[in-house]
């Protein structure tokens, strides 16, 4: 039992919501990112892909958009269209500061 305890690894905490931004080009490549390195790159690519596809499909549906804001309970995604690519801001939503986050325009 003691040996089992010694060699068992403590469970990691759940994934933290990242704070930062990244740029994805029209081919889906991540050009630059300020996101923490422990945030999985696969997720960054996935967010970039969804955002680009949403912009492209909106254009095809004759509803051109230049900005997309996705509100989750714990995360806010703000994406700005960049000629086929996108500049994407991610900011965790906390009880202390639910409204202001990276990507918000300064009045």
């Amino acid at each position: 039992m003691v040996l089992k305890k010694l060699f068992s690894r403590a469970a990691p905490p759940p994934l933290r919501m990242p704070s930062g931004c990244f740029t994805v080009d029209r081919d889906g490549a991540i050009v630059v990112s300020t996101l923490p390195s422990d945030f999985p790159e696969a997720f960054v690519r996935e967010i970039g892909r969804h955002v680009r596809e949403t912009f492209a499909e909106a254009r095809a549906a004759q509803l051109p958009l230049h900005e997309l804001i996705v509100h989750y309970g714990g995360l806010k995604i703000v994406a700005r269209e960049l000629r086929g690519g996108a500049l994407v801001f991610l900011s965790p939503v906390t009880l202390i500061s639910p409204a202001r986050s990276a990507g918000d325009r300064i009045p």
């Binding site: 909106a58 309970g73 202390i96």
Partner: protein
């Protein structure tokens, strides 16, 4: 025979589970305690027993606490849920509350904290599961609250919050002085506020200088309002009767200020695949909306970012807001002159009235 409530504890540390089992077993209501060391095991136990309360850690191997909780909240919405964790992080706290968890508690480190934790658990076990009522006085209606204030000759300002709607009722020496909500005041505002079935309230200091707009006595006004509510409840269709067509609800939304179009799917579409008002060729837009909502719901689950609340798209010609509300999925086109925050607030109000 009195039934004992069942509590399920999920933590990956067996020693801690034993300790909590012992502590919780000594609560005055003598609940039955079940334990699990992994998410899948907890899910299996939840399938097998009618639990009253689920206590969960966040740090778990393979399937973390947030994943377990998001499934549990979806499958068992009436189950009371508590997070008991050593993770002290504001971000996790807000994500947990966004999932609809009742309580976020850091693992107690002193006798006093343990005592407080146990008191909270006992209180959660005793609470009725019914959702109606005002937070803090779960089984009381707003009428009860006002009567209480008036009978005790109190002076206060009640601030009542129901989703995005806020109302105020001014009471001075046990008499109703004024009410205010959604741009209306006096008796009309009072009736509107009293129609709310749930929400939260806070008692603010009295404002003796506030102008008097309600001249009727508290009891007379409460009686009138109760009668009006009864009549409107009687006018609602019984299960045998047909409900008003969802299209008429869409029309009400479409008449709203700054609304350019409305598109609805699912239950909101009145039987069809989708229903639209103010759009000439809604088919392509409908496809985009369905795909966008589906895509970002899946992404939210992958990221464990909490429930998808709204998607807002800003365009040069118009803005759009998308959201799911129960079985219904709604998309509203808003005038370009609105800002993103205004679109979000207006959409919240639409969703609050829709549900």
């Amino acid at each position: 025979m009195e039934t004992r409530h069942k509590i399920l504890l999920l933590d990956d540390e067996p020693d801690l589970l034993e300790l909590y089992r012992e502590m919780l077993g000594q609560l005055p209501s003598r609940p039955e305690i079940f334990t699990a060391t992994s998410g899948p095991r907890a899910m299996a136990l939840l399938e097998a027993h009618p639990f009253r309360l689920f206590i969960c850690d966040l740090k778990l191997p393979k399937m973390d606490g947030l994943q377990v909780l998001s499934i549990v909240r979806r499958k068992y919405p009436a189950l009371r849920t508590v997070v008991l964790t050593s993770v002290s992080d504001e971000q996790f706290r807000s994500r947990v509350y966004a999932l609809g968890v009742d309580l976020y508690w850091q693992k107690p480190s002193s006798d006093q904290e343990t005592r407080m934790f146990l008191e909270c658990i006992e209180s959660l076990l005793g609470r009725e599961t019914e959702e109606a009522g005002f937070r803090g006085v779960q089984s009381k209606s707003l009428v009860d609250l006002i009567q209480l204030e008036c009978l005790s000759q109190s002076s206060s300002t009640l601030r009542i919050i129901n989703g995005p709607l806020t109302g105020r009722i001014w009471i001075l020496h046990g008499e109703l002085v004024d009410a205010e909500t959604e741009g209306v005041t006096g008796e009309e505002a009072f009736r509107k506020i009293l129609a709310w079935k749930a929400g939260s309230f806070e008692i603010l200091p009295p404002e003796p200088e506030h102008p008097r707009r309600i001249l009727k006595s508290c009891n007379a006004l409460l009686l009138e309002t109760a009668q009006a509510l009864d009549e409107s409840a009687g006018a609602e269709p019984t299960p045998g009767e047909s409900a008003p067509r969802p299209a008429s609800r869409l029309a009400t939304i479409a008449q709203g200020e700054e609304v350019e179009f409305v598109l609805a799917f699912g239950e909101a579409a009145g039987g069809g695949r989708f229903e639209a008002l103010g759009l000439e060729n809604p088919e392509r837009l409908a496809q985009w909306l369905e795909r966008t909502l589906g895509r970002f719901s899946t992404l939210g689950e992958q990221l464990r970012a909490g429930p998808l609340e709204q998607i807002i798209g800003l365009g040069l010609q118009r803005h759009v807001a998308l959201a799911a509300c129960g079985d219904a999925r709604l998309c509203i086109g808003w005038r370009h002159s609105l800002g993103a925050a205004e679109v979000r607030e207006r959409m919240k109000k639409v969703l609050a009235t829709w549900s």
